[in-house]
Amino acid sequence: MGAGKEEIRDFLNRVADALDREAWDEFLSMCAPEFEYRVTAHSYELDEDMIWLIHNLDGLRHLFEVLPEQLGRKGTRMLRHVSIVAIEPGETDGRMIATSKVIAVRTSPEGVSELFAAGRYIDVVDAAGAAPRLIRRETRLDTRELGIGSHVPI
């Protein structure tokens, strides 16, 4: 028997928590081998959908590997407040689609917090196995001005 909605809800909260704690290996362990992560936004300037980041599991591993060398301020943190809106069966057996609202708050080393981004997660979850795993995450941003940007997935 696969994971139910409550189990998936708990799973998605743990995924967000792993990202918040920058526990990258833990996050990757929650992803299926075919995992794809993308950040998207709609440009009203171009009237087009845009992809701002797209990675498979290897791409994410590489991203996390170079993060310690990436220029930034030590102590900067991002906290993702996730509110799950719906968890529904996908078209494929054993897959569930979860839609969540997400607000990412970035806090500087001095402790100043500011809204970094608002949007939605559209997640495809493998709910058939012993434990749920992410097959796909699209972070669909409403926010299109990200200041200096980010090296860390939202």
């Binding site: 300037e45 171009l46 845009m50 701002w52 590489h62 220029l71 001005e145 200041g147």
Partner: protein, 397 residues
């Protein structure tokens, strides 16, 4: 060698005045006001790519001037740019960022304008006629607009030198890239940063900062051999071309080899080419993609930077996806390089804003090769000419 006391720290560098910039140039409100009048109001500036106005009556609003503007493709195919302001009471005429409108009616009092900027309708016009305010006197303010290789430029000055004369042949090496096959903008994002506009412009002319980027440390751009293949070409009116930079992207895990994607015409897979246009626009290419930056001064220490990514309009879905990945690898808002560049601009701005640093140093000379600061000196020579004062002493009477 030793640290310096205050007097030594604040003393002008023992360098030719062309080789350093007084940091007041980045922070003084009077200088900023002069820049708006002497530079921004008089130079040709990039507005958008014509693919953003593909069809007749398409419009595109933008804020990268000191006034709100709207570009409109007319029924005659020509792109015109107007103040995005209703001449009646100053309401913003086009409130959407883009769209299509044969006629535009102001939301406030329903004055209507055509694509040539003529006022064609005013509800109950008789009292205006009685006051001798005819519709003929109520047209939109049009600004000078010209297009080269699909790049739309505007000038707030009604009587500027022609665009072709202003640019000369600085963009000639992009002619094939921009015209041989239709190109289009597939990426747009913006960043408001706490830095003076020139600090972002400088970041695209200062190649000495390469070591800052982890991904450039991992590719081959930082070798003696590749350094000296580079050339800094200085063009009239403050424009610059950096060419001859070859990059071996190697087996970076996150991108597909550039040879796998259709190259932009006239470009090789491994070349990096960059063209800063005075005062605030930079075009750069990496084989498969072009980026255009536009920097808009908002206040002395706040700037709006807009980033466009361009590829081939006829891309297959597969090619477009690879092109997007290759654009995002270095130039997206979540890329390896761009957040580092923006971080650097803000960190330098912090020191200049506080007065903690008195001078910026642009004195590297390497025969206009490698990491020569000649591009920045050329920019500041034009800046000084237009401002009527040297960047090394910008508060001079």
């Amino acid at each position: 060698m030793s640290s310096r006391d205050r007097a030594a720290w604040e003393r002008p560098p023992d360098l030719p005045p062309t080789h350093y910039v007084d940091t007041a140039a980045y922070s003084d409100p009077g200088i900023f006001a002069d820049e708006m009048g002497r530079i921004m109001a008089r130079c040709w500036r990039f507005a958008c790519h014509e693919s953003e106005l593909a069809d007749a009556f398409d419009f595109r609003t933008f804020d990268h001037a000191e006034v709100p503007l709207v570009a409109v493709r007319g029924g005659d195919g020509r792109v015109r740019i107007f103040y995005n302001v209703c001449p009646h009471r100053g309401a913003r005429l086009f409130s959407d960022l883009s769209g299509n409108a044969r006629l535009k009616t102001c939301f406030f009092h329903h004055w209507t304008f055509d694509w040539k900027g003529a006022c064609v309708s005013r509800p109950r016009p008789e009292p205006y006629e009685d006051a001798n305010l005819s519709a003929e006197d109520c047209g939109l303010r049009e600004v000078r607009t010209e297009t080269l290789y699909g790049l739309v430029f505007f000038n707030l000055d009604d009587d500027p030198v022609p665009l072709a004369e202003y640019l000369g042949d600085v963009l000639s090496s992009y002619e094939r890239t921009l015209t041989e096959e239709p190109v289009e903008v597939f990426h747009y994002h913006r960043a408001t940063i706490r830095a003076n506009w020139k600090q972002w412009v400088e970041s695209n002319m200062d190649h000495y900062h390469e070591w800052m980027h982890v991904m450039l440390r991992r590719t081959n751009v930082l070798t003696e051999e590749t350094f000296f293949k580079r050339r800094v070409e200085l063009h009239p009116h403050g424009h610059i071309v950096f060419r001859g930079m070859e990059i071996d992207y190697g087996d970076q895990a996150t991108i597909l080899p550039r040879e796998r994607t259709k190259l932009l015409p006239g470009l090789a897979a491994e070349t990096f080419h960059s063209t800063p246009l005075f005062p605030n626009t930079v075009l750069m290419t990496r084989g498969t993609v072009m980026r255009i930056d536009t920097t808009t001064p908002l206040t002395p220490d706040t700037s709006l930077v807009e980033f466009r990514g361009l590829g081939l309009k006829g891309d297959s879905a597969e090619d477009r996806m690879i092109r997007i990945r290759q654009h995002n690898e270095f130039w997206g808002p979540m890329s390896h390089n761009l957040p580092e560049d923006l971080f650097a601009a803000e960190q330098c701005a912090h020191a200049y804003r506080s007065g903690a640093a008195s001078y910026g140093n642009i004195c590297r000379e390497e025969n206009l090769s490698a990491q020569d600061d000649g591009g920045m000196r050329h920019f500041y020579a034009e800046w000084s000419r237009r401002m009527g004062r040297p960047a090394s002493d910008p508060l001079a009477a």
